[in-house]
Amino acid sequence: METSQFEIDLGNLFAFNPHHQFSSLPSSREELVKECLQKGTELVQAIANTLFNLPSTEDVDGPLVKLPPPTTRLPREKPLPKPKPPTKWELFAKARGIKKRKKDKISYDEPTGTWKRRYGYDRANDEENIPIIEAKITDEPGEDPFAKRQADKKKRVEKQDKNRLQNLKQAAKVDALPSHVQLAATALPITGTQTAPKKVTKDELVNVAGIAASATASGGKFDKKLPGEKPAQHKGKYRKFLPVVEGKGIVGSQEKEQTEKVLNKLISKNSHDILNVDKAVTMYNVKKEKRKNQKGKSSATSSKLKPNTKPHQKSSKKGSSSSKKGSSFSKKGSSKKTKTT
């Protein structure tokens, strides 16, 4: 027959005849339905032809046929599950080449000499069932060994919980959290596909509040603040308006000043200041001082070279150069005094 013309997807038990076209629509509804069903029957027969020729196994209810996977591609309903990242231990075990070994379900219980289950109720070698703990030399006096045993166990459990949480966090980062586990931070109906909402930081919140405040005419200045809320950070400049009405004289020239300032800035941008009188004067003074100092220094060095055994009185009687120096010292001293006082 013309089965080769049909597209057949056996996985979905679906057949499609892309060649049929009504040359002229049948006049009545009955005829139309009849023709449609007839065409449908052809297709169903085509599916059956391939289906009944598949190898089948007999079952109580009838022949069972193994269907091939569907060929028509339809969209998924949920994203592909992501592989779970290895836990820290798994990584470590892999690096060290440690392999999992299966343990027996039961193990030998030494105190009773019987075989008991390894874990759970009435387990073998349960350290909590030991009624007497022998004292050792290393024991600290005043410490309850039973309480210590309990505390140690608690610590171990806590450590394991911490490790587990860490591994779950890592899994949550790559969206591979097991579907039945929920980290309390992700308050979501759990399907395993939803990403947890990002926690908003304080800075971001402040920024958002600032943006929201800028929507008001006053820039949020008169908004009601929550307890502990800081005034919104204002970015940019406030515009300053000069008084509209002013008196004459100096007070009234504010606007003029403003415009002049701008104008001067513009004009003077390219004309470098040739002479700054203040600067020039100070520079001149400094240079003069330096020259004086140099003259004084040359004499001072000569005096320094001489042995300084003589008392001050004599030195004061000496040459003019030294006296000059002395005067300079006194000057310095006086200046210091003023500073200190």
Partner: protein, 315 residues
């Protein structure tokens, strides 16, 4: 410290695991709901679709004011329902002057709307109006055969899209093993014109043909209706690409109790429970067979003669 929440009960955990994304998906659930106004025709269309899909469908009976799938913002509560019911196909009916007997069929991906097709329903014939042998009535949840006829489904974009959506809606669960004797329903879709599709639900009668393949005969069991394509909304390319991804390797089923051996080859382990032979009832547990009596008898035999002799002597 962050808290880890896990379900306290196994049933809850299993339910959650059922909802989790899977490598190979086997079928989608359908959500059936309606808008503010529905006509009588539409009400029966929705209930019949529900009846056809029973087992993998959820039907809502309340009016939904704020569901407008084609408008932005009108899909939020739809997506919410899809998440709640774990359905990824929805059929939404509404009736208005502009679009009478309106049916929106849509799919979701990750509980967000993937695509939408809007069709109008005409010439609807409900199940009750068909008379047929009730033995041929399809059973609930049986795997249907689907036949599409007409070049319109290949040439017209809207119909092509409709074909895909209808296939997704009608195909039921993806199965690996099929009981051929259980085939009892067929959907026939025919494109009558460029925007009109005839959809009919049929039962199947197998007749002897002389060969291994029986002759198929379709019996209309209803409902049947004409669908007129109105609006449609296609997914964006990136979303389509994302949704069409499939797992490269199929998940392997765990082989239990089978181990390999280089010398002996494949070794299977069979568990045989303790047979308790000692407690077994014997077929004829006559009194004479009882152990103590038997032993007593033996004893008697040893010194039995004596007693008898004694008796004789006495006599």
């Amino acid at each position: 410290m962050l808290q880890v929440k896990t379900p306290k009960k196994g049933r809850v955990r299993r339910a959650l695991e059922k909802r989790a994304p899977k490598l190979v998906e086997t079928g989608k659930k359908t959500l059936i709901l309606h808008g503010t106004k529905t006509s009588g025709v539409l009400n029966s269309v929705l209930t019949e679709i529900y009846n056809i899909k029973k087992g993998s469908a959820v039907k809502f009976s309340r009016k939904n004011e704020n569901i407008k799938p084609f408008e932005s913002g009108g899909e939020t509560s739809l997506e919410f329902f899809s998440q709640r019911t774990d359905c990824s196909i929805f059929v939404y009916g509404s009736h208005s002057k502009k679009r009478p007997d309106n049916l929106v069929i849509g799919r979701t991906y990750d509980h967000h709307i993937y695509d939408l097709v809007e069709v109008g329903v005409e010439n609807f014939k409900p199940m009750e109006s068909f008379a047929y042998d009730k033995k041929l009535a399809p059973r609930i949840g049986s795997k249907p055969m689907i036949a599409f006829v007409g070049e319109g489904f290949e040439n017209v974009e809207e119909l092509k899209h409709l074909k895909e959506v209808l296939l997704d809606l009608l195909r039921g669960e993806v199965v690996e093993n099929l009981n051929i004797a259980g085939l009892d329903r067929v959907y026939v879709c025919t494109s009558i014109s460029s925007n009109r599709v005839f959809l009919s639900h049929c039962g199947l009668r197998l007749k002897k043909s002389g060969t291994a393949v029986p002759r198929m005969e379709l019996v209309e069991v209803g409902p049947s209706m004409d669908l007129i394509v109105r609006r449609n909304h296609l997914p964006s390319d990136s979303l389509r690409k994302e949704a069409m991804r499939t797992a490269r390797e199929q998940p392997k089923k765990k082989l239990k109790n089978v181990s390999g051996d280089a010398i002996q080859g494949k070794i299977g382990k069979i568990y045989v429970p303790d047979q308790k032979i000692g407690e077994m009832a014997l077929p004829n547990k006559a009194k004479g067979i009882k152990r103590e009596r038997r032993e007593a008898k033996l004893k008697d035999q040893d010194n039995g003669h004596v007693s008898k002799k004694q008796k004789e002597n006495k006599a």
